[in-house]
Symmetry: D2
Subunit: 349 residues, 4 copies
């Protein structure tokens, strides 16, 4: 159920409705919009009558929502969600594209700084890097852990970048929340509901990657798990799905971008590195991702991909990233978006 | 096996090599390139020694090709294949993008003319329309047959457009070859090898659609079937593959475009109409297709989609096609391509 | 629309209804059942009133059928279709399982006879072998053509077996109909609607293989294409579908067997050779196919698989086929089916 | 690397080799077999020479293992792993099939007891039931939690059944280990590597379900994660994969059973309830699962499926389970397996 307040409803009126919801054993999620506040209601509403709210002061409309997802839906919030990082002059979902770049795994302070300097200079405001790596084999490099997080915090301090990194369980999520700016939940954990709930109680935005064989509805329901716990700052990320096709590691499903934008107010970015698994496909698919309307990109860049401890074959060189930014900048204009300017990094700090 | 002739090899030298190939019970496919001629050899070459050709006059190099496809490969022809329709001032694979638009099925002269006028005016030089429709149900509209072909021939005469239409068996292929300019082989027939061989003996270019679950290699091998019979003018078309994803009718696999371009000299266009099955996805995916580097688009346009006899939900309105062309034109510039200008159709008549 | 005649309706009454259907511009398909005759009606029935037939003599019930397939549906024919080959004492769909065995491709008279003798002796009554082979590469062995058909006709004469072989186009279908007993339509041609219609006009039963990525509905609609032309003797064949899984060549979807049996009266057999692509999986999946309730098996057997011209790695040895028959015979009993006894082939000659 | 000890190697010799491995900074996994002990070595072995171990007393052979999985491989342990529950006279992987049955979710003590009595009486020795349910929607019933575990512990006491139930995070895994006999890791958590490692440190066997789009190699690698931590008692479970096919909820991939058995010594069971998602498919696919060679079944049974809080449409009725056991018992004989006899439950306690 969804209660749409009148445009001029007061805070007290919103609070009164929320209290009423609680008194019925349900949970209220007030979500302020540009024009008016909507209140999503979650919990078993089988026996609740619409009439209970209809006549309360400030209530505009009471709607039974038929879709299984509620809080992520455009029905509850018509305008796009924009996630802002004012201290770092960055945002996701707004007019400026969010470009996230960095190595698959943080391997050393030197490696991280080398890559960060190059991608920041090219215009990326977000630095991605893994400290906790979910690897298919238990015998592969599993990441530097907290040491990797510390290095990324230094990257933020030195280059003024927003840090995005993955959490793989409750323990690492606490640490990621402490050190980083955006908590990434990986594709393999998209339906790790315990971790989603934990992320929903965190105070930092969550970047949620689509599972390898997740439908659109399952993807939105996973975001709903996070939101239902109270964290409304979610970025979705298309990163390819598993199909029979073998010319790429995954099949990048760009049609998901307009599909998400129709149904949900959440921003969505694309990861062409995992989405193709091949260096020579990253640039063309980056162009296509922006052209299709994505809110940003997540790209793996490595200064020495052949010696990368993880995902070398899909990481591009810094020079290729320069070219990528150049091409993306031109396409951004066509879809009425912009890309941050190149920046002399010395100027950052 | 592949014989690369020297840059200055004479026609007689090429002919002498071909004669030698024939004398060994094999088939020679001389393919002229910008710099030099290559001669593909097909047939069972188990017992043939490279040395047989090595010392012939004009021979530069003899290479054993390990890939299963030969004639479609960039190994045999480094420069892109460009298919030209000089009488109609159109081409596929060159600098100008090939934009193919029209209704799913030809329903009447009036419908065809109405749509053709609009798409021609917007800049499309290729008119697509079905006279023979492969339908899932035997009880659905199966197309107007030869009457549909006649209407399309009139469209060519009146609007100066290149006609692309599907053949579904030997009989219809003969008729399509007679009336149209490009013979389309549909996704369901991608491995109808008998039809591919027949198309390989036709005198008109062939547009080959990727099968619903075809790998890249199978797709190239299907093109090889056509080329092995002597027809070297082939256009590949990505039109979405079948996956578990249910938010679109098919999953459009744009990564196929750079993958094909790496391995083959053949042009490749994208069909976002079948690739998504939804009207509201056609524009964003058209932009993405051009951004990824495709040589053109194949788009379903209908003046009255709600009453279309086939594929209405994925056909766009003429006004949407105007917008599509406008957006595509801008993106084309970023990837160093161009789109034909809008055109007062009166000038055509 | 479906007209179910009364149990005691006379032939004249059935004919009168069919005439009425024709007079309305529709096509009538009278299908006799054990208890009563049903008449399927195909063609555009938008404007036809049920009342037109309701009061005709002998009519029991008039039903509007909502499923897209009609003639293949159990709604129109409740009891299982059994296809009989009385001269050869064989049937498909009855109590005795139909075991089809033989080489992928007919390579020579000697090879065909060697394999036929072994599989016939083990209890197989159907001989399968390819004369026209749809191969991914144009440079692979494409079959012996009519010579292969002649060899198979000899196998029938000598060993008393029912011959099943594939047709790949109109021309080969005519020849297959002439020489063989069952016309196979391969997976790649499941939606070659022109070929399906041609098969629908043939006088011999059709074995239709499921396409690589065909849904259940598409599979039944393909059979409907054949039936709509008047050929009601169709055997469906599950042969694996294409998925991401790479431990087998295809993923054998045994759940299709009970799914088909729920919706359709047609018999369904399973091909574990193509369904797995691996010799060591053929026996376990053959057992599973019978256990799940299939009406029979289609198995590739070769006397010298390592030198087979096609599909060697999935062909089993004659000794393995003996073991397969032994195991299948035991499982058949559990599902109330039987397998023909082993047979001294000398008696056949 | 893998060290195969001689048949008569003493315990001290095994211990000496393990000490040597540790001294090199690697981890030794001694795995006793019927004939001889093998010692798997994990950790970065780049610089370790085979010669280091070659001449130690008791060492038979030192092998470099090329497959990415080691401990789960038949290379390291030739004979099948059998997991025994002697107190409850049950086992998995031995001659007797392991039949696991029970409701999807534990809803109440009464429900659990009602179902347990019926399935125990029919011959099932394993009781399955969910206390922690991974649900697609945050608003669906999520299980009774510890209360559900307590009820299942009572089922063990009263009916003498082995309890199998799912853990979804570290916290619930501790509780499941405490109350139950087998720790289930669900399909959605197959690559939740943090949870796999935690399960690898538990003292109870782990039943690991195949992920929705997991390849065979990824599945075995997930088991390797558990084993690498020291827990060698793992049961694999095929439960269907996600494909385009829509006649079942998932596509049950029975070919995985012989494929696993070829590569690994671990037992594998099949879950036809999730594997099909449809009640009317559970019996035929159960028969097929046993026929293909699985070591057991996991089946959802509910006394009142229409009111089940989870997965009602795929749960079978107790009477259907009786029939299932009857059919499975007959097929078991064909594949040289057995099923526990029906049992008057009063006799249990």
């Amino acid at each position: 159920m969804l209660i749409v307040m009148q445009a001029h409803a007061t805070e007290e009126q919103v609070r009164a409705v929320c209290d009423k919801v609680s008194s019925l054993g349900l949970k209220a999620h007030p979500i302020p919009g540009a024009q008016r506040t909507a209140i999503g209601i979650t919990g078993n509403q089988g026996a609740v009558e619409i009439g209970v709210f209809d006549d309360m002061a400030g209530v505009g409309e009471v709607i039974r929502v038929s879709k299984p997802y509620k809080l992520v839906s455009r029905d509850i919030k018509e305008d796009n969600t924009i996630i802002r990082f004012p201290a770092l002059d960055a945002s996701i979902g707004g007019q400026e594209l969010a470009i996230m770049a960095g190595p698959c795994a943080i391997e050393s302070r030197e490696q991280a700084f080398t890559v960060a300097e190059r991608v920041r200079r090219a215009g990326a405001k977000f630095f991605r890097g893994g400290a906790y790596k979910p690897r298919t084999s238990p015998y592969s490099f599993q990441g530097l852990g907290e040491e990797g997080l510390r290095i990324m915090a230094e990257v933020r301090d030195k280059f003024g970048m927003v840090i995005v990194t993955e959490a793989i369980d409750h323990e690492s999520l606490d640490l990621v929340e402490q050190y980083a700016d955006v908590i990434q939940i990986g594709a393999r954990n998209m339906q790790n509901f315990s971790l989603l709930k934990k992320a929903g109680r965190a105070q930092k935005p969550v970047l949620l990657k689509r599972g390898m064989s997740a439908t659109l509805e399952e993807f939105l329901m996973a975001a709903e798990y996070v939101m239902a716990e109270g964290n409304y700052n979610i970025i979705l990320c298309e990163r390819g799905v598993r199909t029979f096709a073998d010319h790429t590691r995954n099949t990048l499903d760009l049609s998901l971008v307009p599909a998400v934008q129709r149904l949900s107010h959440l921003p969505i970015v694309v990861d062409p590195s995992h989405g193709t698994g091949k260096r020579n496909k990253v640039l063309p698919l980056s162009r296509a991702s922006i052209a299709v309307g994505a809110d940003g990109l997540m790209v793996e860049v490595h200064n020495d991909p052949d010696r990368a401890l993880s995902d070398g074959p899909q990481s591009i060189f810094p020079d290729q990233f320069d070219q990528l930014m150049n091409e993306v900048r031109q396409i951004a204009g066509v879809v009425h978006r912009s890309v941050a300017a190149q920046q002399a990094v010395a100027a950052v700090r």
